[in-house]
Amino acid sequence: MNPAMNSALNSGLNSTAGMAPVAIPYFFYGLAALAVVSGFLVITRRNVVHSALALIVTLLSVAGLYLMLYAPFVAGVQIIVYAGGIMVLFLFVIMLVNIERSFKERRFNSMWPVALSAAGALFTLFVFAFAKGRALFPDRMMSLPESSNTQQIATMLYGDGGRIGPYTFAFEIASLLLLVAILGAVIMTKKKI
């Protein structure tokens, strides 16, 4: 009997011990590399549709990273809102751009020095935050109950059993902000209210 079969036999369906996630480091390195490479493609491609597609890959790999952090709800929302909603609207607009003409046009907004220094400053900030504020980061991976993740988010946002949750107020303020944005969009497109 080969080892693969043996392990399959051992992790029979009725065992509950098989809950441990599989091949965590490999998935992390794969997803992180994918996110970085496609993020690089977003800013280097001259064809905007290719940039948009690369951005979708970045967003999806970040959703995969959320899944690895035991945040399935955030991952699902990332896919539904960014990859499924916003990027479709992006593509909708970009598709109407005349690609041939935009290739010929001279680039007047070449800002490599500014962008590089900004990215360098951000990177230094991250390094400092990681070096100085080591105590803020958990030294082990947290094992959160994945099966009640969504319910816990709901408790935090809306409260539980009559009590207001810790983030209820902030959440409502954020929704008010979105409402204002929607009203603004309607007013801007309507000629006569």
Binding site: L13, N14, P72, F73
Partner: protein, 438 residues
């Protein structure tokens, strides 16, 4: 070595039949892979038979015969079509964006097939039960529009671009009403002692089991209205008639896949039909009780369970009878000899399956946890789920034969000014009624 496998294999399969959780939950990659393969094969076969059924049913709606030449009653037509498409020349236009043109059908196909991981064919008959099941399904199936949009753009041609624009506008608009209808069904899952709902596909069906009612009948007519909104929006989401603006053949040749040919074109068709099955199973899971048999509360008890467990076998028996009637009605000419034998063999196969199912139903009628009764239960779950999905698939064909295509502005008006306000109102009223009941 072969000896060991001979002992070990049956034990392994038996241990699986006795399980009460999905392979994903048990962490068994082996069984998850088996499930994925079964689902992939099943969906492909379902798409092929749907293709045949659609052509036949549309033909009969229009008083034609439809495919009749390849095999008895054109039964082998899908196989001939698939062969033809595979052998056809695969053309990529010179002016097209090669890479994007190449990847577009794959995006659609991946999105359509990925959602099958969470579809619950039964309480343990799913690849995995995610905590965010319905969110995952809506999210991944919304990625399918990317394939359409990108295909239309990459073709670098007028009709495909217009088709892609229409399609993206339509899908983004109808997704909103669809999502609100789904939320009102999810609200109903929270009507238990704890007061917490669930997004998991299996959890949603379990909630309907506990409350003893399909959500379509819950808070009548609220559940029904939400269901109808979803049923309309899902036709728009899958680009089917009467909302098939993206591929309106009388206006846009073939819409976003005008420039595609051969295998690539067939991938688009496969994705479209797979997506149709997927959204139908969302509707079945959320409102029609998923794997539950009809009248669980009204007609309960062991004898009713037994009568309902005979249905799968009787269905196949009926199909076999239809095949044999077809054999008898075949013209008595030597041209039809092979077709006659083939149809009789097909009928025999269906009859054999029917016999096996009936034997399992009768042998597994006891309530104990033996393998026979487990198998009987599983067959029941899968049968009722697939039957409900099949009704939806037939409805898709029926709509296409019945209703004329909407104009684009009408489509947008229906989406934003009719479906969206109604679904918002249903959501609010459902929340109020739910609080009052609890």
């Amino acid at each position: 070595m072969p000896n060991m496998i001979a002992i070990w294999m049956p034990n392994f399969i038996m241990s699986y039949l006795g399980s009460t959780v999905t392979p994903g939950e048990a962490g068994s990659q082996f069984w998850a892979l088996i499930y994925v393969l079964i689902i992939f094969a099943g969906v492909s076969v379902a798409v092929m038979s749907m293709n045949w059924l659609e052509r036949k049913a549309l033909a009969h709606f229009q008083i034609r015969l439809g495919p009749m030449r390849v095999g008895p009653h054109g039964l082998l037509q899908p196989i001939a079509d698939a062969l033809k498409l595979m052998l056809k020349e695969d053309i990529i236009p010179t002016e097209a964006d090669q890479f994007v043109f190449w990847i577009a059908p794959l995006i659609g196909l991946l999105a359509a097939f990925t959602v099958y991981t969470v579809i619950p064919f039964g309480p343990s008959q799913a690849v995995s039960d995610m905590n965010i099941g319905i969110l995952f399904m809506l999210g991944v199936s919304s990625l399918g529009v990317l394939g359409v949009v990108v295909a239309g753009w990459a073709s670098n041609s007028h009709y495909p671009l217009i088709g892609a624009l229409r399609s993206s506008a339509q899908m983004v608009s109808y997704e909103v009403a669809m999502g609100l209808a789904v939320v009102s069904a999810i609200l109903m899952t929270s009507l238990n002692e704890k007061g917490t709902g669930t997004l998991s596909m299996i959890g949603i069906v379990r909630a309907q089991e506990q409350q003893g009612i399909w959500f379509i009948f819950k808070f009548f007519p609220l559940g029904l209205i939400a269901f109808i909104i979803f049923a309309i929006a899902m036709i728009a989401e899958t680009n089917r008639a009467p909302f098939d603006m993206a591929e309106a053949e009388s206006e846009l040749t073939a819409g976003y896949h005008t420039e595609y040919s051969g295998l690539r074109w067939s991938l688009f068709m496969l994705a479209e039909y797979a997506a149709m099955i997927a959204v139908s199973s969302i509707a079945v899971t959320l409102w029609l009780g998923g794997w539950m048999r009809p009248f669980v509360r009204l007609l309960h008890g062991p004898s009713w369970d037994f009568i309902f467990s005979l249905f799968p076998g009787l269905t196949f028996l009926g199909l076999a009878a239809i095949a044999f009637v077809g054999v008898l009605r075949m013209p008595a000419h030597s041209f039809f000899k092979i077709q006659k034998i083939g149809l009789a063999a097909f009928g025999g196969l269906l009859g054999f399956i029917a016999l096996m199912l009936l034997v399992i139903a009768i042998a597994g009628r006891s309530e104990d946890a033996s393998i026979g009764s487990r198998l009987n239960e599983s067959i029941g779950y899968i049968y009722w789920f697939l039957l409900k999905v099949a009704v939806f698939m037939y409805l898709f064909i029926w709509y296409r034969a019945t209703w004329p295509r909407y104009r684009f502005d009408q489509l947008m008006r229906v989406g934003w000014k009719v479906l969206l306000p109604i679904s918002l109102a249903v959501l609010i009223v459902t929340a109020i009624v739910g609080v009052l009941v609890a």
